[in-house]
Subunit: 570 residues, 2 copies
């Protein structure tokens, strides 16, 4: 800590910024007290009773507003917003987040180290603490072809890059439990440097949970219920309470916390996946705080979970509290019910003003040219692939759910049901390396009356998904996404109705957030107008049809996959 | 984490030890629940409902007793017990401490790196986590000659020794605040490796406290009052609530904590200085827990402060909680009121049995021959040093206090008051390097009717202190301590009445604890019999007369020192 900070703390030198007449939310004692805060060289130098500090280059009288530590999003996938990192950070800053712990799992599946480094550079230039947990499961499963394979050696090359904090969610639970050599090479790598290791253990319980925790996993954000939360906390895991756009676990966990009166030291808040429009409307971690307060938690405790708790779980020193020597990352809230940020400071600087002046990093050409399937044609999607007399599996899409059911159809009935609008062709085209792998299957329940839809956002390998009622429309849709190099598109009677280009790896858009939000809303409306029911998100639901870790029947570029049996359908 | 621990957690392999029918004190959630705990390779492998684990090489049915994490003494000076490290550890283990954060400040002042390495070796061989915070202030002040000078370079050489955790209490508050180069070299050294840095800031408040905290100090154990505790917690310092033999700060702080309802995350317990007899009678951290419970704190919260809180403050991972993957350091308490340990496990092993079988490390000859003053004689202590017509300062010793008052006397009255038993000669002889430095002064209030007392325990430089009514008896006392190479001695009419040798650096005894306790009690009784009043500890009070950082008048080998004016009396 330099001399100047001490001189400012002592009142001898002028502060860079003096916040006067604040109410400091002290998340270490869970108390609030009236104070002035003197800031120097990006650090909190001194805190004193009102009027105790007077010398400053800049003074801001906050007139009794609340000074809270900048909020920490303990686990998020920036790519899920579909906005570029800079735009994502803008939305986070808008609501008072000053530290992000991101897992660039999606872009890593497309572009590996190059994608991760782009995220670090683009996010890292913003006035926010932009940390990366290195994706541990690329590809997520051996049942699909992603753009990249990251083994322990590839992780070792990245782990000392600036901004890399620890290891991202370890989804391979069996690999952890039953001694998969490569999984444990990765764990050992991060444990050897005492780095944080994120977990991902949905519904893992009992002895398997004990073994998973004993393997040195630090956190879990896949907690759905209060009982699961308590068991995982007692197993020593930090529970990252998730409130995203789809997964909304906060209410059940926080209700349990309040009813039981347990200590909250190992809870933090996160979003995992949250869409841009939702972020803009309500914020991320600030929204978690607001919900917790509405459920009856004291604001200072909720803010504590949103700040110092996450900092401690991830070993971040000097972040997450308003105390001398810590980074001057401060949100000024109007009050603790509305939680409207009046100002957001990062390292003592006006984060909003600073963020506005930063030009986005230009993604490398390879990141903007990532949709490279082998040649395809109408024949690729032809009904003739389904032979009469044979039985074929059919994915039953369920409204508002990423789970599916497995149904079936006889080959001779495919054309009839397609024509009746009761069945869809669905194809997944490997799009990273031009291998020509194509999975072609059948799906019911999508609702589109005529035409086709396609997306390059396809968890987790992000191949090209095309769904439609006719091979011709599917061809148009697939061609359109190759033309724009990724995104969403909607086709009707051979014509493109609308496209939202996602030019960065087919996952994110360089477009300004307000325009992107409007474009995403418009194409969804168009799809609903073409018949997709209101309780199905036309494109996001599609993205999950290729995720072969969620039951029951899914499709990858390698074919139809029965998740229950954990094998391809022959 | 190795394969076997997972296999035990999964219930596939037999545990090394299975604790059945326990009540687990979960300090992470502050709850207690019934469970069995399976231990393998020194780690907690799995915790499950009663009966869930059955395979084990050894089973212990604890019959409903409480399983708490091993307690952590967050700051202690082993030397203050006057027992060798092995004996000290025995006493700590007796009451359930399994992690010690020690500051070998006393031995470092005598023997520097050699002394510290002896402590690391002797303590480190015991079944306890024996950590060292490297002493930061050797010598403690520039107003005395210690046995060693430890600068930043000397600390750098030691900081990577096994067992070295961080930096010990930084007592040089002005040096921190006003940019002393050597002090900041030391701070930078430990900050560069993100090590814990202990503070020492008695009564430091306001802007000075802000500047001290902003300098990257992590803890403070010198907190006397609740108001001071709250201010320091709000400044981000971990408050190590101290309950030693002399300084007893627990009640005022914990009462404030309970009345205010603040969060306790940054509180831990420590003893700082605690004598062997007190340790044996009541324990150290277990006694803190007991007192806190008696004051009204819930036992699980008090145990939390005594375990995981300290672990987190010092960055100790895998210590301080009963969760899978953590070290199997467990105390079995009969109940949570009496807090009598039934068993203490360290790394899954019976710590009591293991400790009993360990032979003490033999200190090097230099450590056992550390009392090496230059030649002295009766003349050294002669009354003739005080000239008629001159005014001399007199230390007024205050019962039960390490503070003193400053009085004075005219030279011509010295002999008369001495003869009347109202005044004492007090001398401090430099004893490390034979430099011949001697401070000779006067003191009132000790109570000894006739004779002399001497000690080589003399905070912080541990020179040889001799006090007496006659130069002749003082000579006998000084000679006796040179003969036995350190300790306590008491002289009456030219004869040694009793001696407690402290053969290790003149600070600690290799004697068995039970014998040492008896010997210390006996010599104190003898001194009281010779007139030292009951409210003055005959030797410990003496040790503080040479500590030139506590007001108001003290004496070092360089002369009488006025602490208020921070200068020697001319």
């Amino acid at each position: 800590m330099n001399d100047r900070i001490r001189a400012v703390a002592l009142g001898n030198d002028p502060a860079d910024l003096l916040l006067q007449n604040g109410r400091v939310v002290d998340v270490l004692t869970e108390t609030i007290y009236e104070a002035d805060v003197a800031i120097a060289d990006g650090k909190i130098a001194g805190i004193g009773p009102r009027g105790s500090y007077s010398k400053a280059k800049q003074v801001l009288d906050v007139q009794g507003a609340y000074l809270a530590p900048g909020l920490i999003n303990a686990h998020c996938h920036v790519e899920s917003s579909m906005a570029a990192p800079e735009s994502y950070v803008h939305e986070e800053l808008r609501w008072g987040t000053t530290t992000l712990i991101t897992d660039p799992h999606e872009i890593a599946n497309v572009a590996g180290a190059e994608g991760i480094r782009y995220m670090l550079k683009a996010g890292g230039q913003m006035p926010i603490n932009y940390y990366v947990e290195l994706p541990s499961c690329v590809p997520a499963t051996p049942f699909e072809h992603a753009g990249c394979v990251m083994d322990a050696a590839a992780m070792a090359e990245l782990m000392h890059d600036e901004g890399v904090l620890g290891m991202g969610e370890m989804m391979n639970v069996p690999g952890v439990l039953y001694d998969d050599a490569e999984v444990h090479k990765k764990l050992d790598l991060f444990h050897s440097e005492k780095r944080a290791v994120d977990g991902h253990a949905p519904a893992v319980t009992g002895k398997e949970l004990q073994a998973y925790a004993a393997s040195g996993i630090d956190t879990d954000h896949e907690v759905m219920s209060w009982a699961e939360a308590l068991e995982k906390l007692r197993a020593g895991l930090g529970v990252l309470v998730r409130q995203g756009s789809a997964a909304r676990n906060l209410e059940s966990i926080i209700k349990g916390v309040l009813a039981s009166g347990i200590d909250v030291q190992n809870l933090a808040f996160c979003t995992d996946d949250k869409h841009l429009a939702d972020m803009r409307k309500e914020g991320t971690i600030r929204y978690c705080v607001k919900l917790a307060v509405e459920l009856g938690m004291s604001p200072v405790r909720a803010l504590r979970i949103a700040s110092i708790n996450a900092a401690k779980l991830f070993g971040l020193r000097h972040v997450g509290a308003i105390v001398p020597g810590y980074d001057a990352d401060i949100v000024v809230f109007n009050n603790l019910e509305d939680l409207e940020p009046l100002h957001v400071f990062w390292h003592g600087r006006d984060a909003w003003a600073e963020a506005a002046g930063i030009a986005p990093v230009e993604p490398a050409a390879s990141l903007k040219g990532s949709v490279r399937p082998a040649a395809f044609s109408e024949e690729t999607f032809a009904v003739s692939h389904f032979e009469a007399g044979k039985e074929y599996p059919v994915i039953r899409m369920l409204p508002g759910d990423v789970y599916t059911e497995r149904e079936s159809i006889r080959g001779e009935n495919v054309a009839v049901e397609l024509a009746a609008g009761e069945l869809y062709l669905i194809a997944v085209l490997e799009r990273h390396h031009g291998t020509g792998h194509v999975g072609l299957g059948l799906l019911r329940g999508y609702g589109l009356r005529k035409g086709a839809a396609a997306t390059t956002v396809a968890h987790d390998s992000h191949n090209l998904i095309v769904i439609g009622t006719s091979p011709r429309d599917m061809l148009v849709a697939a061609n359109e996404l190759v033309r724009v190099q990724g995104g969403y598109t909607l086709v009707h009677e051979g014509q493109v109705v609308g496209t939202v280009p996602l030019n960065i790896c087919g996952l994110m858009s360089s477009e300004a957030p307000e325009k992107l939000i409007v474009a995403l809303e418009k194409i969804a409306e168009q799809a609903h107008a073409q018949g997709v029911p209101a309780n199905i998100d036309p494109f996001i639901s599609l993205s999950f049809m290729a995720l072969p870790v969620i039951p029951r029947l899914k499709i990858t570029d390698m074919g139809m996959f029965d998740v229950d049996r954990f094998e391809f359908v022959k």
